[in-house]
């Protein structure tokens, strides 16, 4: 039943999403010219999406729980209880999201070179561990790969990547 609810919840979220976008479509300015108003096509798409979401809701509530398949990872791994169990289950993707988020926040300060190397280094440590000679190997990898790519774009392709406050002073 828990699995069944999962799909039904997604369908309800989709319907809410359609509602928000539909309401927002009234904020679109309508010009006096043109045949297809700027809000018409989005409303058609929202209408189709809402209709499909209703069908999905009906399908998810009428199908048995066994009809909904777990993905391979979920099927092979049992999740621990509570929020800590959820965090443990999603540990690696959450780290990736969080570190990338921090990387983007720190971009104006660290820039793409220092920020990129730091992001890759920390991510490798978090995902692969800090034991043995890994910290040194990870540092070499991060420096060589991101440094190499940064050099290729900066000097080879002439792309101005964000220098950040630190490198920006030089």
């Amino acid at each position: 039943m828990q699995r069944l609810n999962r799909d039904a919840i997604i369908a309800i979220i989709l319907l809410a999403f359609c509602g928000v976008f539909f309401l927002s479509s009234f904020d679109i300015r309508q010009p006096d010219y043109g045949v297809l108003m700027p809000s018409t096509w989005p409303r058609v798409v929202i209408g189709v999406l809402a209709f499909l979401s209703v069908l999905y809701l009906i399908q998810s509530t009428s199908a048995g729980a066994e009809a909904i398949e777990d993905d391979k990872y979920d099927a092979e791994h049992t999740r621990g209880p509570g929020f800590r169990g959820w965090l443990g289950h999603w540990r690696n993707p959450l780290w990736c999201f969080f570190l990338f988020f921090l990387y983007l926040l720190s971009l104006p300060i660290l820039g793409m070179l220092i920020g990129g190397i730091t992001f890759v280094y920390v991510l490798m440590g978090v995902l692969g561990g800090w034991d043995g000679n890994k910290p040194i190997l990870h540092a070499v990898f991060a420096f060589a790969t991101i440094g190499g790519m940064w050099s290729l774009f900066t000097f080879g392709l002439g792309v101005l990547l964000p220098p950040g406050m630190i490198l920006g002073q030089f």
């Binding site: 300015r29 043109g34 045949v35 297809l36 096509w41 990872y73 690696n92 990387y103 790969t145 991101i146």
Partner: protein, 553 residues
């Protein structure tokens, strides 16, 4: 004209820098295709930022090289480790891995490489001959027809991309909605920007593609902490030499399988939504059915390697035919290629081949040259592949995530694109987890503005909606869109022996013949008559079987 354009294309590509970039592209594609968990589309997506500063022909030749390399790379992992490098080389492992285990890995690799080569060459020839003709047909299309073509591409992609058709359609609709964010292209009014100025430009479509496809795929690859810490393959890779001479003999002896499988590949590629993952299984199945010894399939025979490898290399030729002739991407890889064309300010359409003949032929010729390069580089890249397999998945994923960031920023020098990458990476990961296919969403994002612009053009000509059903091409696409949307239901109900399914295919044939008759002209009338006769033939067969399918008798 063809000879002139071909020579001009050779001149365009025949410089040291382009050839070097193509070699690097083939090498990169071979490695990316060989790594289990990495897809060809991902490799091409990651190459996009590098090509931005290049002249169009050079950039596109590099992208085509990555594509050709990636198509052939999957066989290395599949044959040597039993783990297919890409979904399009799944069937290669059925006989390739057993042959390698039987002590002939060099021959298995050789057969795979030369079958890929033959499939690539056959599809390149068809690409060069069919694309200009199809483009001429495309010139007949009006906005109503284009709009319906996009709807057909979306419905068939949704119906072929997963078990649950509704999820596929929802993904496609979300893609269309994502594309509406920002100023609309017809009159320039802000839509769904929620007061955020950065959203006025809309989401950059390349950042969305990289987020949805590459970012979410990498997160999926490192999701399991134990697998993330393992080397790409734990199975030892033996040192092998590709046995080219024996392989060529084996492939030439089975030329009928090569030709049949290549044609299956090309026509699967032409069909929107159906890619190499379908073609290789289909070709393997057909080779097995046509064989005098079907029981030997799966034990390590040459036929079982030739069929999937010829077909999966031929697929992209088919997808490029549709992309270059009509501007409609057939699959995710072609969608990324469309992105590559767009960042070089080239909008594929039926007039593209006539307007930009040198560039169009450069793409054709690059496909040819890259196929030859693939043969030359396969032996060398095999050694690199052995080295790459020692790298741990988490190292590779972390580095590529870092590359994604640099690459996305480099496209337009806009930090907002990096946030787009993150949000769509999360969205792609969540969608994968809940079983929503990403291919329809990507096509929705790519085709969204084409659909809207053509709808606007159609309504600007007349507010009457009847041309959508009275114009032959529009009606044709509408009919096949409806039947392709119903196809998963038909397949499911056919297993339950529902009576109506007996009439599904004949009715589809009758319906499709109507617009073909309406088009007029002798060739199309004959085609319509053939389709109609096929429908009657199917009906007659089922009547003979007591209104049942033949297999049930």
């Amino acid at each position: 004209m063809i000879i002139e354009n071909t020579i001009a294309a050779f001149v365009e590509l025949g410089n040291f820098k382009t050839i070097l970039l193509m070699l690097v592209g083939v090498a990169g594609g071979l490695i990316a295709g060989a790594i289990p968990g990495f897809t060809i589309a991902m490799a091409i997506v990651l190459t996009l930022p590098f090509t931005f500063g290049m002249p169009p022909s050079m950039g596109l030749a590099t992208m085509v090289s990555v594509l050709v390399g990636g198509l052939s790379g999957g066989l290395m992992a599949g044959i040597l480790t039993g783990i297919p490098g890409t979904p399009s080389s799944v069937a290669t492992t059925f006989d390739g891995f057993p042959m390698a285990r039987n002590g002939e890995p060099g021959l298995a690799l050789g057969i795979g490489v030369w079958s890929s080569f033959c499939g690539g060459i056959i599809s390149a020839i068809l690409l060069m001959t069919l694309a200009p003709h199809l483009a001429r047909v495309g010139l007949e299309f009006n906005p109503w027809d284009y709009f319906m073509l996009v709807m057909f591409a979306l419905t068939i992609t949704a119906s072929l991309s997963g078990k649950n058709m509704i999820k596929g359609l929802i993904a496609g609709a979300v893609g269309l909605l994502v594309r509406t964010v920002g100023e609309d292209e017809a009159v320039g009014m802000a839509r769904f920007n929620f007061g955020n100025d950065a959203l006025l430009q809309g989401f950059d479509f390349i950042a969305v593609l990289i987020g949805l496809f590459a970012f979410s795929q990498l997160l999926n690859d490192v999701r399991d902490p134990k697998i993330a810490k393992k080397a790409l393959t734990e199975r030892g890779v033996v040192k092998v030499r590709i046995e080219h001479r024996r392989a060529i003999v084996e492939v030439l002896k089975r030329w009928t399988i090569v030709v049949r499988s290549s044609l299956i590949g090309v026509f699967t590629g032409i069909l929107p939504g159906a890619g190499g993952s379908i073609a290789n299984i289909l070709a393997y199945d057909q080779a097995k059915k046509a064989s005098k010894h079907p029981e030997k399939f799966g034990t390590g025979i040459a036929d079982g390697i030739i069929a999937p490898e010829s077909s999966n290399n031929a697929v992209e030729g088919g997808a490029l035919i549709i992309l270059m002739a009509l501007g409609i991407p057939g699959d995710v890889t072609a969608a990324v290629m469309l992105g590559a064309l767009l960042i070089h300010d080239i909008i594929p359409s039926p007039s593209f081949i006539t307007d930009e003949p040198v560039l169009a032929y450069s793409i054709f010729i690059a496909f040819f040259i890259a196929t030859f390069m693939m043969i030359g580089m396969q032996s060398f890249m095999l050694r690199v592949f052995v080295l790459v397999t020692r790298v741990r998945m988490y190292v590779l994923a972390s580095v590529i995530l870092g590359f994604c960031g640099i690459g996305v920023f480099a496209l337009h020098n806009v930090t907002f694109d990096l946030w787009t990458l993150l949000w769509f990476g999360i969205l792609g990961f969540v969608m994968r987890h809940f079983g929503f296919p990403l291919a329809p969403m990507i096509l929705g994002v790519v085709l969204g503005n084409i659909a809207e612009l053509n709808l606007a053009r159609a309504l600007a000509i007349t507010s009457d909606l009847s041309p959508f059903v009275t114009r032959p091409w529009s009606l044709f696409f509408l009919i096949i869109a409806v039947f392709s949307a119903l196809f998963p239901l038909y397949v499911g109900q056919r297993e339950k022996k529902k009576t109506w399914t007996v009439f599904f295919m004949p009715v589809a044939c009758f319906a499709a013949s109507i617009p073909l008759f309406m088009m007029g002209g002798s060739a199309r009338t004959v085609l319509a008559a053939i389709v109609l006769c096929f429908g009657f033939y199917q009906l007659w067969r089922r009547w003979q079987n007591g209104w049942r399918f033949e297999a049930e008798k």
